[in-house]
Amino acid sequence: MTVKVTTTVNGKPVSGDVEPNTLLVHFVRENLGLTGTHVGCDTSQCGACTVHLDGQPVKACTMLAVQAEGHQVTTIEGIGQPGNLHPMQAAFQENHGLQCGFCTPGMIMAGIGIADRAKGTTLSEETIRIELEGNICRCTGYHNIVKSIAAGARDM
C-alpha cells in the first residue's frame, strides 16, 4: 500500500507515492533525488539529515514523509547554489568548516537554525557548541565548524 504525499520542497510543489512508514529523508533522497541530505545513523543522533520544516531545523530521519504534507521543506539544495551561496555556506568554505563533507549539509542547516534563534544577540562559542549537540562531525573536531557558524551568523 502506498500513500500520496504532497508538499513544497525548496519552494516547488512536489508529490510522490510512498509507503506510509517512509521517512522524510528517504522521500527527499529517493523520490526527489535531492541527495544532499544524508543519512548517518539509525538513531537520530548524528544530524546529517537535518532539513528545515517551515524554517525550523528538523532531523529528516525523525519524521515521516506524510508528516510533511502541506508544509514547507527546505534542503541544502534550496538555500544557495554554486556562485550564489548562502552566507552560512560561504562561512563554512571560508573557515574550513568541513573535510569529508558528509555531515556538512546537516551542519549548515543546523547552523542556520542556531543563527536564526540568536538573531539580535551575539553568539558565543559556548552557545554554538551547546546548540550543536544534535550534530556529529568525525573529521573536524568542531573547531572550525564553531568558527564557521559564528561567522555565518554575523553575515546572515
Binding site: D42, Q45, A48, G101, R138
Partner: protein, 790 residues
C-alpha cells in the same frame, strides 16, 4: 603568479563548493536502472554452528529475487578475503591465517558476521525476506576477552591457543642486562581500549555488471580503489582485473575503516554478475558498529629501566593484541611493524625488547584505525614515562628533555629497526610548554583548588612513522605488495592540466593540496588544474590513502611527473625557439632562452605539443603527458609535543578539558589551513578515545553492547575546546617535498596527554581509557580511601 596559491598558501578548498551545496556524490547517491537491493543476514550469536538454514520462506517472500549463502559463494569459486601482511613468530613459523569467506560457511564466529544475503526489488522487500531466515544456530563456546584469549576454546580448526603469531622485536638479552643494572624500574599495566571508527558516511557498495562487455563496475566507499581491484581480482576471484572497474566517488570519512576489502562489496559484485542486474547495499549505522573493522584493543605490560639520574636504560613490553574473529586486510601489521617499531619514541633508550601475541576472539575483526599501532605505542610509552617522572619525583618535562634524541643526532638508528631521518624534539617541547604556559600551571591549580576543582596537566611527546611505505623495507617486513605511489599529469592542448593520482581523498583536501603542488611547479593557476582520483578506469594505479602517505608519497610522485613535463616542455620550447633544451630556463609558467628575451608560455608549448606544425616527429613525440611512480627510501617521521590541561569535579568525576596545546613537526606544509584541520580532527578522535569512546562486548554472550550511537559516546562539539596549535619545521630529508604527513598526529599524541593530565589532577597511578566520570570518581574514591588508610 602562483605565490598566493602555491606551496605554503592558505588556499580555500576547491572541492568545498559541491559539498556545501549538497552536490557531493557519495556511493549511496548513485543508482542504476534495474537496481536491486541487498540486505545481509547477520549472526546473532558470537560463536555458533549453523545446523541448518532453510531459505525457502525468504525466497518466496514478495519482491525477493535471490537468497544467496556461503555455499553459493563457494560453488562459484569466490575465495577467502585475504590478509596482505605476513608476520612470522619468534620461532620463524608463519602466522596462522584462517579462511575468511565473505559469507560464513558452517560456523559463525562473531555477532554481526554475514551468513547470507537477501536480494530484493526494494530494500524493504529484501529486509522482509531476511527477517524470515531463522538458522538453527547451535552455540559454541565464545570468548571476547583479549587477555584470556589464549586459554579460551579454539575458534579456528588447527590454531592452538587462538594464537595467530608470537612476534618479537629488539635485543632481549641487552634489555635484560639494562634492567639488571638499573637504579629504578617502573612498571605499568596498560590497556588500549577498543574503538569503533564511525566515519559519518557508512560503507556502501553498488555492483553493476554489464553482460554486453563482461565488465563489472563496483562503486564502493574505499580508501584505495586500485588495491581493492587488485585484491578482488587476484585473490578473491571476483573478476579478471581488466574486467573489473572500482570507483570510489566522494567518500565521507574513512579513518582506516575503509581501507579494507570487506564481505559486502565482494558479495554485491558477485551477486550483480550472477543476477545480471545492479545490486546495491548501504550499511545502516548498526551494521557499521557490528561489522566495520574495529581499532586498538591491546593489553600490555610495560617496564622501564632508568639509571640514578633518570636516563632511560631499557624498555621491555609484552602485549596481547586482539585480531577479532578473522584477519582483516592489514590487521597483522598493526600490532607489529606499526607498533613495536615505534616504541623508542623520541628517546635514546638504548635497549628495547617487545613481544606481541596476536589472538583470535569472537569479535569483529580489528584492523587499522587512525594512527594504527602508533597510538598504541605512544600511549604505552608516554604513560610509563609520565609514571616514571612521578615515581622519581622529577618534572615530567625535564625527564623527557633529559632523554630526548638531540637534534644533532640525526639520522638516528633506534633499537627497534627504524632510522629517523630528522627532527627537533626539544624545540617542539619548548614551544608547547611556552604556548601552554606550563610555568604558570601551579598558580592555575591553586586557583582551581580554591573553587573546589582538581586541575591537572599532562604531556605527550609522540613520534610516528608515516608515508607508507618504502617498498623494499615493506617487503622485508612481510608486506605482500610494494607501496609506491603513482601520478599522471595530462597537459591539455589549451594549457590546463588534469592530474590523476593513485591516492584517494576522503576529506583530506587533495583536490586543493595537489593542485597547489602542481601549480607551484608548472606556474599555472589553481583553476587550471583538475585532480582526479578514485576510479581505476581513469588513473593508472595507486595504493590509496592511509598512514599519512598521500602527500609524502603521492605528492612526491606528482613532483616527479611535473619535472618530466618541464623536461619535455624544454625540448619543445627549444625546437620552437631554435635553441637547445639545456639553454632553456623555466620559471613561473614561462620557457625562456637563457640570456635572451625569447620566450614561450606554458600554454603555447602545450598547444604546440598537440597540434604541431612543422614538428620534428622523428625526434619529438607529440603530446604532453607524463607519468611517474615514486617509491620512498624511508618512512617519514612526524613528531610533536602535546599539552593537555583538565579540571575535575571531585563530587562527580566529570572532567573538562580546559586547554589543549599541540606543536607538531610535519616538515614542509603545503596548505596550513588544511593541516590544522587534520590536527583538529585527530585530536578530537584522540580525546574521544581518552574520555568517551568504548567498544564493549558482553563477556558471557559475546553481544556487542555499544552497538549504536546511543551506546557509544561520540565526541560532540561541547565535549571539546578550541585547540592551540603551532609548528616546528624540520623537513623530511628524502622526499622532494620535504613533507612528513599530518593526518594521524592528533589521534596519536592526544590520548596520553589527556590521561596524564587526569591522573595528575586526581593523584592516581593508573586510569584506563575512556576516563568517564564514573571511572574518574571511582578512582578518586579509591585514592581517598587509600590516603585515609595510610
Amino acid at each position: 603568479m602562483t605565490a598566493e596559491t602555491g606551496i605554503g598558501a592558505r588556499v580555500r578548498r576547491k572541492e568545498d563548493v559541491r559539498f556545501i551545496t549538497g552536490r557531493g556524490r557519495y556511493t549511496d547517491d548513485i543508482n542504476r536502472p534495474g537496481q536491486l537491493h541487498a540486505v545481509f543476514a547477520r549472526s546473532s550469536h558470537a560463536h555458533a554452528r549453523i545446523g541448518s538454514l532453510d531459505i525457502s520462506a525468504a525466497e518466496a517472500s514478495p519482491g525477493v529475487v535471490a537468497v544467496l549463502t556461503g555455499a553459493d559463494l563457494a560453488a562459484d569459486g569466490i575465495g577467502s578475503l585475504p590478509c596482505g601482511w605476513m608476520i612470522h613468530s619468534r620461532d620463524g613459523s608463519p602466522m596462522k591465517q584462517p579462511p575468511h569467506p565473505a559469507l560464513a560457511q558452517g560456523i559463525v564466529r562473531y555477532v554481526g558476521e554475514p551468513y547470507a544475503v537477501v536480494i530484493g526489488e526494494t530494500r524493504s522487500a529484501a529486509q522482509a525476506g531476511a527477517d524470515l531466515l531463522d538458522p538453527d544456530f547451535q552455540d559454541l563456546p565464545a570468548n571476547v576477552d583479549t587477555a584470556s584469549a589464549q586459554s579460551a576454546a579454539p575458534i579456528h580448526d588447527g590454531i592452538a591457543n587462538n594464537l595467530c603469531y608470537d612476534w618479537v622485536l629488539g635485543d632481549e638479552s641487552a634489555t635484560d642486562a639494562a634492567f639488571a643494572s638499573a637504579a629504578h624500574v617502573v612498571e605499568l599495566d596498560i590497556i588500549n581500549n577498543r574503538l569503533i571508527p564511525n566515519a559519518i558516511e557508512t560503507r556502501a557498495a553498488l555492483g553493476d555488471y554489464d553482460p554486453g562487455t563482461d565488465v563489472l563496475t563496483l562503486f564502493t566507499t574505499s580508501q584505495n580503489p586500485h588495491l581493492a581491484r587488485l585484491v578482488l581480482s587476484a585473490f578473491v576471484g571476483l573478476a579478471p582485473e581488466h574486467k573489473l572497474r572500482v570507483v570510489s566517488p566522494d567518500v565521507g570519512g574513512g579513518f582506516g575503516s575503509k581501507i579494507f576489502i570487506y564481505a559486502e562489496e565482494t558479495v554485491c559484485g558477485w551477486a550483480s554478475k550472477r543476477l545480471r542486474r545492479p545490486v546495491k547495499w548501504t550499511a545502516d549505522r548498526s551494521e557499521a558498529f557490528l561489522n566495520d573493522a574495529h581499532g586498538r584493543d591491546h593489553v600490555s605490560k610495560a617496564r622501564l629501566a632508568l639509571d640514578a639520574t633518570g636516563r632511560f636504560l631499557g624498555l621491555k613490553v609484552s602485549t596481547i593484541a586482539n585480531l577479532g574473529a578473522y584477519m582483516s586486510t592489514f590487521s597483522s601489521s598493526i600490532p607489529t611493524y606499526l607498533y613495536g617499531t615505534l616504541l623508542a619514541g623520541q628517546y635514546t633508550t638504548p635497549a628495547i625488547f617487545v613481544e606481541v601475541k596476536s589472538v583470535f576472539t569472537n569479535t569483529t575483526p580489528v584492523d587499522a584505525y587512525r594512527g594504527a599501532g602508533r597510538p598504541e605505542a605512544t600511549f604505552l610509552l608516554e604513560r610509563i614515562v609520565e609514571t616514571a617522572a612521578r615515581q622519581l619525583g622529577m618534572d615530567p618535562a625535564e625527564l623527557r628533555r633529559l632523554n630526548m634524541i638531540p637534534k644533532d643526532a640525526f639520522p638516528y638508528q633506534t633499537p627497534v629497526a627504524l632510522v629517523y631521518d630528522t627532527g627537533d624534539y626539544q624545540a617542539c617541547l619548548d614551544k608547547a610548554l611556552a604556548l601552554a604556559d606550563y610555568a604558570g600551571f601551579p598558580a592555575r591549580r591553586a586557583e582551581a583548588k580554591a573553587r573546589g576543582r582538581l586541575r591537572g596537566i599532562g604531556l605527550s611527546c609522540y613520534i610516528e612513522a608515516c608515508g607508507l611505505a618504502p617498498s623494499r623495507l615493506a617487503g622485508q617486513l612481510g608486506a605482500g605488495v610494494g607501496l609506491y605511489e603513482s601520478a599522471e599529469i595530462r597537459v591539455n592542448p589549451t594549457g590546463n592540466v588534469t592530474i590523476f593520482t593513485g591516492t584517494h581523498s576522503h576529506g583530506q583536501g587533495h583536490e586543493t593540496t595537489f593542485a597547489q603542488v602542481v601549480s607551484s611547479r608548472l606556474g599555472i593557476g589553481l583553476d587550471q588544474i583538475e585532480v582526479v582520483h578514485g576510479d581505476t578506469a581513469q588513473g593508472q594505479f595507486g595504493m590509496g590513502t592511509y598512514g599519512s602517505r598521500s602527500l609524502a608519497v603521492g605528492g612526491s610522485a606528482l613532483m616527479k611527473a611535473s619535472d618530466k613535463i618541464v623536461t619535455k616542455g624544454r625540448k619543445i620550447a627549444a625546437y620552437m625557439l631554435e635553441s637547445e633544451p639545456e639553454d632553456i630556463d623555466f620559471d613561473d609558467g614561462v620557457f625562456r632562452v637563457r640570456g635572451t628575451n625569447k620566450t614561450k608560455t606554458f600554454g603555447e608549448i602545450a598547444f604546440a605539443a598537440y597540434v604541431p606544425h612543422h614538428y620534428p616527429l622523428e625526434e619529438l613525440e607529440p603530446g604532453l603527458q607524463e607519468t611517474a611512480f615514486y617509491d620512498p627510501e624511508n618512512f617519514t617521521y612526524p613528531a610533536g609535543a602535546y599539552v593537555c590541561e583538565v579540571e575535575v569535579d571531585p563530587e562527580t568525576g566529570a572532567t573538562r578539558i580546559v586547554k589543549f596545546t599541540a606543536v607538531d613537526d610535519f616538515g614542509q606544509v603545503i596548505n596550513p589551513m588544511i593541516v590544522e584541520g587534520q590536527v583538529h580532527g585527530g585530536i578530537a578522535q584522540g580525546i574521544g578515545q581518552a574520555m568517551l569512546e568504548a567498544c564493549r562486548y558482553d563477556s558471557e554472550s559475546g553481544q556487542l553492547l555499544s552497538g549504536s550511537m546511543m551506546d557509544y559516546a561520540m565526541p560532540r562539539a561541547d565535549d571539546l575546546v578550541n585547540f592551540d596549535l603551532d609548528v616546528v619545521r624540520t623537513d623530511c630529508t628524502h622526499n622532494p617535498l620535504g613533507a612528513k604527513g599530518c593526518g594521524e598526529a592528533g589521534a596519536i599524541g592526544s590520548p596520553p596527554a589527556v590521561i596524564n593530565a587526569i591522573t595528575d589532577a586526581i593523584g592516581v597511578r593508573t586510569l584506563d581509557m575512556p576516563a568517564t566520570p564514573l571511572k574518574v570518581w571511582t578512582a578518586l574514591q579509591a585514592g581517598t580511601a587509600a590516603t585515609k588508610r595510610s
